[in-house]
C-alpha cells in the first residue's frame, strides 16, 4: 500500500507526535509498504530517506505556547507537489487542525484521508476556531483516530462526533531486553527512583518529586532520584533541602538506549505530571522495562495503567501523597514484583505490532468504503468549477 503520512511539527525537535509518526512509518516500511512522510525539517540535517521536508519550521505563539510550525505559499506548493507525485492510496494526517502542514494537506488532498488527534488540551482554541472555516475540509476525513479517551473527548467537545481510539505504540521488546546499569540499580538500603521529562517544565512535575523526597529519605537515607531529561535543573535544586539536592542525580538528556537501561534498573518510576497529558507513553515504556510505576491520577495515566490496576496512583500535585506512595512501595518487594510482572503484560497492549495492525485495519476499512463509492467524474465546466473549491475535496 502507498501511504502518505503528514506530521505538523518540526522533525528536528523531539516530541511525542514526531516519534509516533517516525515509528509508524518505520514499522510499515518494515512490513513492505511504501511510506512517505511529509514534515517541516531543516534540510541540512540528516534526514531519513522516507522523509520529505516541506520547509523549515518557524517558532510561533500558538494555543498558549510556542510551537514550531510551517505555513505560507511555498509550503503550500510543496504539499501539493508531494501529494501529486506521491500517488498515495491513503493519506494519514496527524493533528489536522494545527495551523501547519497537516491542515494544508487536508485542504489539498483528493485521496482518502485518515486523521489522528493527539492533543487533549482543554482550551483548544484552534479546534474551536475551526468552525465553520474548516468544516468542509474536515468532512473529507473518512476515519478519525484519537490516541486516548482524553483526546477523543477533546475532539467530541470541539468538533463533535466519534473517534476510534488507537493508543500510541512502543517497541516493547527494546525496553524488555535493555541491559541494567550497576550505577543506576537500587539495593534494599539504597533504592533508586527515576524521573523522565523536561526538568524545567513545571507541568512535568519534577518539583512535586523533589518535594516528596524528604519523606522518602527519612525512611531510606541512601535513596537516590535519577533525573533524565533536557533543561536546567539548577534553579529547582537551589531551593530544596541540601540532603534532597545530594540525593538527586541529574543525568541530562539521555539516549533511547540509556532511557531503557535506566527504566530497567530502578526500583520505581515516578510520573508526577500535573496535567496536559493526553496519553503517557513514558508510563508504557516504564512498564515494558518492568519498572513499577507511581503516577499522578490524571485520567490519561489511569487509563494507561488499566484503571490504576497495574501501577500506584496518587493525587496529582500532592507531594505528601507521592512520598507516602513511594515509601509504601519500597517497603513491599512482593508488590513491586507483582506490578513489574503485570506491567510487562499490560505494556504488550501498546506494542507496535498490535498498534500498527489496528492502524492498517483503519486504512483498509477506509479504502473499502472509498472504492465502493461510485466514481463520478464531474461533467462540464460549471460542475468542475463548483467542485474544485479548495479544501472541499473536489477533483
Amino acid at each position: 500500500m502507498r501511504i502518505g503520512i503528514v506530521c505538523p511539527y518540526s522533525w528536528d525537535v523531539p516530541g511525542g507526535v514526531q516519534f509516533h509518526v517516525r515509528d509508524l512509518a518505520e514499522v510499515f516500511i518494515g512490513q513492505g509498504h511504501d511510506v512517505s512522510v511529509l514534515a517541516p525539517a531543516d534540510e541540512d540535517s540528516d534526514l531519513p530517506s522516507y522523509l520529505t521536508s516541506c520547509g523549515r519550521a518557524v517558532p510561533v505563539r500558538y494555543n498558549g505556547s510556542v510551537a514550531r510550525l510551517t505555513f505560507g505559499p511555498v509550503t503550500s506548493a510543496r504539499v501539493t507537489r508531494w501529494l501529486e507525485t506521491g500517488g498515495f492510496d491513503v493519506v494519514h494526517l496527524h493533528e489536522p487542525v494545527t495551523p501547519s502542514v497537516s491542515l494544508m494537506a487536508l485542504w489539498a488532498a483528493e485521496e482518502p484521508v485518515v486523521a489522528t488527534f493527539h492533543t487533549s488540551t482543554v482550551r483548544s482554541r484552534a479546534m474551536h476556531a475551526a468552525n465553520p472555516l474548516l468544516r468542509p475540509s474536515l468532512e473529507k476525513i473518512r476515519a478519525r483516530i484519537a490516541v486516548s479517551e482524553d483526546a477523543a473527548r477533546t475532539v467530541r467537545r470541539h468538533l463533535g462526533g466519534d473517534t476510534y481510539i488507537i493508543p500510541n505504540g512502543v517497541h516493547v521488546d527494546a525496553f524488555d531486553v535493555a541491559p541494567r546499569r550497576p550505577g543506576w540499580t537500587g539495593t534494599p538500603d539504597a533504592p533508586t527512583l527515576a524521573f523522565l521529562g523536561r526538568v524545567d517544565e513545571p507541568r512535568k512535575g519534577l518539583g512535586v518529586a523533589l518535594a516528596a523526597l524528604p519523606a522518602v529519605l527519612d525512611v531510606h537515607p541512601r535513596a537516590r532520584l535519577l533525573v533524565a531529561g533536557p533543561g536546567e535543573a539548577d534553579d529547582l535544586l537551589k531551593r530544596v533541602e541540601p540532603r534532597v539536592a545530594a540525593a538527586t542525580v541529574v543525568l541530562g538528556a539521555v539516549s533511547d538506549a540509556d532511557k531503557a537501561s535506566l527504566l530497567r534498573s530502578v526500583d520505581a518510576y515516578l510520573a508526577p505530571h500535573l496535567g496536559g497529558e493526553s496519553f503517557g507513553i513514558v508510563l508504557v515504556e516504564a512498564m515494558a522495562a518492568g519498572a513499577p510505576v507511581v503516577a499522578s491520577d490524571l485520567s490519561a495515566f489511569v487509563a494507561v495503567l488499566d484503571g490504576g490496576r497495574v501501577g500506584v496512583t496518587f493525587e496529582a500535585g500532592s507531594a505528601a501523597a507521592l512520598g507516602e506512595a513511594v515509601v509504601g512501595l519500597l517497603a513491599d518487594p512482593a508488590r513491586r514484583e507483582h506490578l513489574s510482572r503485570e506491567g510487562r503484560d499490560r505494556a504488550r497492549t501498546f506494542d507496535w505490532s498490535r498498534v500498527s495492525g489496528q492502524v492498517m485495519a483503519v486504512y483498509e476499512t477506509v479504502l473499502e468504503g472509498a472504492h465502493a463509492e461510485l466514481a463520478e467524474p464531474p461533467r462540464g465546466l460549471w460542475s468542475r468549477f463548483v467542485r474544485s473549491v479548495p479544501g472541499t475535496g473536489g477533483s
Binding site: E139, R144, D162, Y164, E364, E368, A372, S383
Partner: protein
C-alpha cells in the same frame, strides 16, 4: 442618467444571481460527496459483517468445537448471512441507507461470539494447531475489529450528512433531492476479549 442606473442594477442582479447559483451548486456538490461517503462507509460495514458471519460459519463447521457451541455459532451466523442475501444492500442504498433492521441479528452474533469464544476456549483451539481453525479465528478477529471501526466511521459520516441537511439553504432549495436521510447504525459490536489482542 436613468440608463446608467438600469445598467448598474442589471449588472448587480446578474452578479448576485451567479453567486447564488454557484453557492447552491457548491452546497449540493458538498452534500453529494457527504452522501457518497456515508454510502461507502455503509458498504464497508456490510462487507465486514458478511466476512464475520462467513468466518464464524467456517469455525462452526470445522469440527473443532463441541456440537452445542458449534450449533449456537452456526445459528447466529446463518441468520446474519441470510439477512444479507434476502435484503441485498444495493436495495437499501437506493432507498436511502437503511440497515434493514439487521441490528438485532448482528448484536446477537456478537453476543454469541463473546459467550462461546472465551479465553479458555480460544487458548485450547489455538493449542490444537489446526491450521483451518487458526485461520477462521484470525478472520473472525480481523473482521470483528473492522466491523467496530466501520460502524464508527459510518456513524460519523451520518452525523455530518445530517448536520449539513439541517441547514436552511439545503432544506428550502431541496438540495438533497430524493435521497433519504441516513441513520446511525447501533448494535453491540464488542469483540470476544481473547480475539481482541
Amino acid at each position: 442618467m436613468s440608463d446608467v442606473d438600469i445598467l448598474q442594477v442589471t449588472t448587480f442582479v446578474v452578479i448576485v444571481l451567479i453567486v447564488a447559483a454557484w453557492y447552491l451548486s457548491y452546497a449540493a456538490a458538498r452534500l453529494d460527496r457527504l452522501h457518497a461517503k456515508a454510502e461507502g462507509a455503509m458498504s464497508a460495514l456490510d462487507a465486514q459483517l458478511v466476512r464475520r458471519a462467513e468466518a464464524t460459519l467456517e469455525l462452526a463447521n470445522s469440527g473443532a468445537l463441541d456440537p452445542a457451541t458449534a450449533l449456537l455459532l452456526a445459528d447466529a451466523a446463518t441468520e446474519s448471512v441470510e439477512r444479507t442475501t434476502e435484503h441485498p444492500l444495493a436495495e437499501d442504498l437506493l432507498d436511502g441507507q437503511h440497515f434493514g433492521g439487521r441490528e438485532e441479528v448482528e448484536s446477537a452474533l456478537s453476543e454469541v461470539l463473546s459467550v462461546t469464544l472465551t479465553d479458555d476456549v480460544v487458548t485450547r483451539l489455538r493449542a490444537d494447531g489446526d491450521e483451518l481453525v487458526d485461520e477462521s479465528l484470525d478472520r473472525i478477529a480481523s473482521s470483528a475489529l473492522r466491523v467496530r471501526m466501520a460502524r464508527r466511521f459510518h456513524n460519523d459520516a451520518v452525523r455530518e450528512v445530517r448536520r449539513v441537511r439541517g441547514k436552511w439553504v439545503v432544506r428550502v432549495f431541496r438540495l438533497a433531492g430524493h435521497a433519504a436521510l441516513p441513520e446511525r447504525v447501533e448494535f453491540d459490536d464488542d469483540l470476544p476479549s481473547a480475539l481482541a489482542r
